[in-house]
Symmetry: C2
Subunit: 155 residues, 2 copies
């Protein structure tokens, strides 16, 4: 689970403040997260559900002992595609202080390889239409923007 | 779990041939499914994984004892959105013989209510950019096409 000076591992409960800080430190994320001390209990509850489910892997990227990135890799069983397993990536963030250093790219390549190892036939993600930099980033990694991502808010 | 003359329930193993028939009976689906008798074992294996996971609900719509529609509703724990649970819908199909009768709309409304009951804050799905009718259908139900859905094939 290593790459030149970046180390990938499953997140622990103690990583949650770092993860939420990165989720919140973002134009869209700042409107929906609560990075407080202590963190709202709902984050720990969600972490417990993720951590106890082998189809979910909340990943952190570490460098020199510091968490510098995160993503949530999930494996979705499906009847479609001849019962093929999908990998889905959500909640991708690189610490703003360390962006544009290729860390996000290493995180994605690691995740795509992990998805391949676990037998997924596809890696899927959605990105907000306003995140044009993110779209170009994923295209450079080989992702095709073939789908429209639609949401219905229940709140 | 009833609506005027349509009944919704969790799919059983015995429903798989009907489900795969509907998945395959479609421009895109015909290229990727194998509707054969007997069905390839991979479909049953995937069904087993879905059926044993409480975060996955493979649903069939039934009318007069006949399966006329299917969708896969999944609940995804997430750290994002203050640890908010997402609902995701995949593999939506209505039997071609019974399309344009409002069945798909009833299936979606049932699923959105189910997602609300199970505490999801959002229902999300992606639809291929070429499925313009599907996009209009989801927009009529209140979905917003705010995201780009990107895929990377591992095959």
């Amino acid at each position: 689970m290593t790459l030149p000076d970046i180390f990938f591992r499953l997140a622990s409960r103690a990583d949650l403040p770092s993860i939420v800080r990165m989720l919140a430190d973002d134009d869209l994320g700042s409107q929906r997260e609560r990075y407080e001390d202590p963190l709202p209990e709902a984050y720990y509850s969600a972490f417990g559900q993720i951590d106890s489910d082998p189809n979910h892997e909340l990943i952190v990227a570490e460098r020199n002992g510091e968490v510098i990135g995160t993503l949530h890799l999930m494996f979705l069983p499906s009847v479609s595609f001849q019962g093929g397993r999908r990998a889905q990536i959500e909640s991708v963030r690189v610490d703003k202080r360390f962006q544009s250093q290729g860390i996000g790219s290493e995180m994605m390549k690691w995740s795509m390889e992990r998805a391949r190892q676990r037998g997924a036939h596809v890696v899927q993600l959605t990105t907000h239409k306003t995140r044009l930099d993110a779209q170009r980033f994923y295209e450079r990694l080989g992702f095709k923007g073939s789908h429209l991502g639609m949401k219905f808010s229940l709140k």
